[in-house]
């Protein structure tokens, strides 16, 4: 019998068109290439310059999400932030038409954030290599795929050759075992992991998340964890396929007409062998994880929501606290907020919206706080509206928008004002990420919603949670 292999080892080996040598990195075959309007136009330009087609249009899927307005058309006109943004969206449409690529544009009931629609459609499957010109492509690793972000030059490579030149990353296993406490969500688990291994602790590695607390997560939760792998510097994050994975995928549109049982058998065999080895192994006790919130300017700077802001350990830390307008040795709880954002590829799926809605149901967002709820996709929006979640949010005083990346990076004009503080379910609290001068606190949907009611950072364990009637 050959050497025990990890999930990553198995997928890597199955996709080597040419192995790594002393002269060149490996050539890795890419099964699924997701594209969006921001990082693809220059990739298509390269094809035109060289006069070559897209090698496998059927393995390519497009959507529009980053530059898209989240307010509905006014007098039939979409309120793009700039004419350039409109042209960018139009360019993707033209490119997809020219090269024969399926695009989920404005008229598609499956349009949405690229990392939300891949799983929903059932194209994000175990064992695949999946890339996109977007660092949060790691999300799809929740299905036991090797999924990672690439740059635009590489988008061109994949369009032209369906392959990437790539050095083999190292492997890391992060095991989270035991029971999580009250109010702890997938977001809190991943913020804890990033804080534990460090914001660059995963650099050069692919992380496999394992352990009972990871197994116990829904697919939505696993996607939230894998999504933020890049925030620890990791190339990708992944979870071995199991019954939860199969249950999620069984009825997905793109899997209809296929022999699901045969696929399932193959997928389950991808799980890491018992004795598989990793370059690094990290153990985390689930019982130690609390609902968390960030206080600094990178995702590693987080503390329990009932914790105290630590003393700065470096000049960069000091600068971060100054930017955030926070003092060390003070509790983060009770710190005033101006904006609440529920959305992004990290936390905009139906479970996330239910989590936030169950907190704000029948209550009011605090005076002076703007709350924006942006579903991750048309399918999430339709489901949420069928469940009446949009009314719960609107009755509480929040805005209910149409799907897109929105305020996660503010490309579409949904921004936080200079100096204002947002509590956000997104993935990055970098300086100015949500708008020039904006201050971001990252948290789970429950923590963000609890804070919306209080008008300041609040512990979700201390608020009443309503039981929603799920249609």
């Amino acid at each position: 019998m050959s050497q025990p292999q990890s999930l990553f080892d198995k997928i890597w080996a199955a996709h080597e068109v040419q192995p790594e040598s002393s002269r060149a990195p490996a050539i890795l075959y890419i099964d699924l290439h997701l594209i969006h309007e921001v990082t693809s136009p220059q990739g298509f330009d390269v094809l035109r310059e060289r006069g070559i087609p897209v090698r496998r249009p059927g393995r390519t899927l497009g959507t529009i999400d980053h530059s898209t307005p989240t307010l509905p058309p006014r007098d039939g006109v979409r309120p793009y932030v700039t004419e350039q943004a409109r042209i960018q969206v139009e360019t993707l449409k033209n490119n997809c038409e020219e090269f024969g690529i399926e695009l989920h544009g404005w008229d598609s009931p499956h349009r949405g954030i690229v990392h939300v629609i891949g799983p929903e459609l059932g194209v994000s499957q175990p064992g695949l290599t999946i890339v996109c010109g977007d660092s949060h492509t790691s999300t799809h690793g929740a299905f036991g795929a090797l999924a990672f972000g690439i740059g635009t030059t590489q988008v061109g490579h994949v369009l032209a050759t369906q392959c990437l030149l790539m050095g083999r990353p190292k492997s890391m296993r992060v095991s989270v075992d035991g029971e999580t406490g009250k109010g702890v969500t997938a977001k809190d688990i991943v913020l804890h992991i990033i804080n534990h291994i460090g914001v660059d602790g995963g650099t050069g590695h692919v992380i496999e998340y394992a352990g009972s607390a990871i197994r116990g997560l829904s697919m939505e939760g696993r996607m939230t964890v894998c999504n933020m792998s890049i925030e620890a510097g990791a190339r990708a994050g992944m979870v071995a396929p199991d019954a939860t994975t199969l249950d999620y995928l069984r009825d997905r549109p793109k899997l209809q007409g296929q022999d699901f049982d045969a696929l399932a058998e193959r997928w389950l065999a991808l799980a890491s062998d018992a004795d598989a080895s990793y370059d690094r192994d990290v153990q985390i006790d689930a019982a130690e994880i609390a609902p968390r919130v960030t206080y600094g300017t990178h995702p590693g700077m987080s503390i329990p929501v009932d914790g105290v802001i630590p003393d700065p350990a470096s000049d960069s830390d000091r600068k971060a606290l100054e930017y955030m307008g926070l003092d060390s040795n003070r509790p983060i709880s009770g710190h005033d907020i101006d904006v609440v954002f529920i959305g992004s590829c990290t936390n905009s799926r139906i479970e996330d919206l239910r989590e936030a809605a169950s907190v704000v149901a029948g209550k009011q967002v605090a005076d002076g706080v703007d709350m924006l709820v942006v579903p991750g996709s048309e399918q999430v929006r339709i489901q949420a509206e069928a469940e009446g979640l949009h009314q719960i949010f609107e009755n509480a005083g929040a805005q209910w928008r149409i799907p897109g990346c929105s305020m996660c990076l503010g490309m579409n004009g949904d921004i936080v004002s200079p100096g204002a503080t947002a509590i956000s379910t997104s993935n990055r609290n970098f300086e100015g990420r949500q708008g020039p001068g904006a201050r971001t606190l990252l948290a789970s949907p429950a923590t963000a919603a609890a804070s919306a009611l209080a008008g300041s950072v609040a512990d979700p364990r201390t608020v009443e949670i309503s039981t929603l009637e799920v249609a």
Binding site: T39, G151, T152, T153, A160, L164, V199, H298, F430
Partner: protein, 192 residues
């Protein structure tokens, strides 16, 4: 991309750790469909205030900043988003080399693909370079060495990247030339 064999320049130092790609180029500059012309957008919010006035004490606004070809930065440079617009902005601003004690994976690959060489040095060496802005540094691509303060240290550079930088060659031609191997792979996997 432009070939590079050996480059000598004074350094520009940004000592902050974890300089993410949102700092290198804010998201509002990403709605373009072009792949050049990003010099003005580079570190925009570090260089200009809310009224588009230059921020006086920003080293990137010093008159000779665009002549400094080597950027030295704190650890974990280029973390965050996969936007290739970040190395495009550095390239268009004038940098050919980025030196740090740790450089994020995706940024590092993107930089190589647009002719900006990522050079990872030890924490001690980076500390010296950070403490000596404007130092004269030589990067030798052929030897894979960086020279400063009368020292010469090796940095990691794979054979393939070395060849590409010295010859100014892009990767696509190389992958396209492996067409037969790709055909064979697809045959094997899709029609077993």
């Amino acid at each position: 991309m432009e070939p590079m064999t050996r480059l000598t320049s004074t350094t520009l130092v940004l000592p902050e750790e974890n300089i993410d790609t949102d700092q290198i180029i804010p998201a509002r500059y990403l709605t373009t469909t072009a792949s050049s012309g990003f010099a003005d957008a580079a570190f925009r919010d570090w260089r200009f205030d809310a009224n588009d006035q230059p921020i006086g004490d920003c080293v990137l606004n010093e008159p000779d900043a665009p002549n400094r070809k080597i950027l030295v930065a704190g650890a974990n440079f280029g973390c965050g988003s996969s936007r290739e617009h970040a190395p495009w902005a550095l390239r268009d601003f004038g940098f050919r080399v980025v030196v740090s004690s740790r450089i994020a994976d995706i940024f590092s690959g993107n930089a190589r693909n647009c002719g900006v060489l990522p050079v990872v040095v030890s924490e001690e060496d980076n500390a010296w370079l950070l403490a000596n802005p404007g130092a004269e540094v030589t990067v030798d691509v052929e030897q894979g060495t960086i020279e400063f303060n009368d020292r010469k240290v090796a940095f990691e550079l794979d054979e393939f990247s070395r060849y590409r930088f010295m010859n100014g060659q892009d990767v696509l031609g190389y992958i396209l030339a492996q067409g037969e191997a790709i055909d064979a792979y697809e045959q094997r996997v899709e029609n077993p």
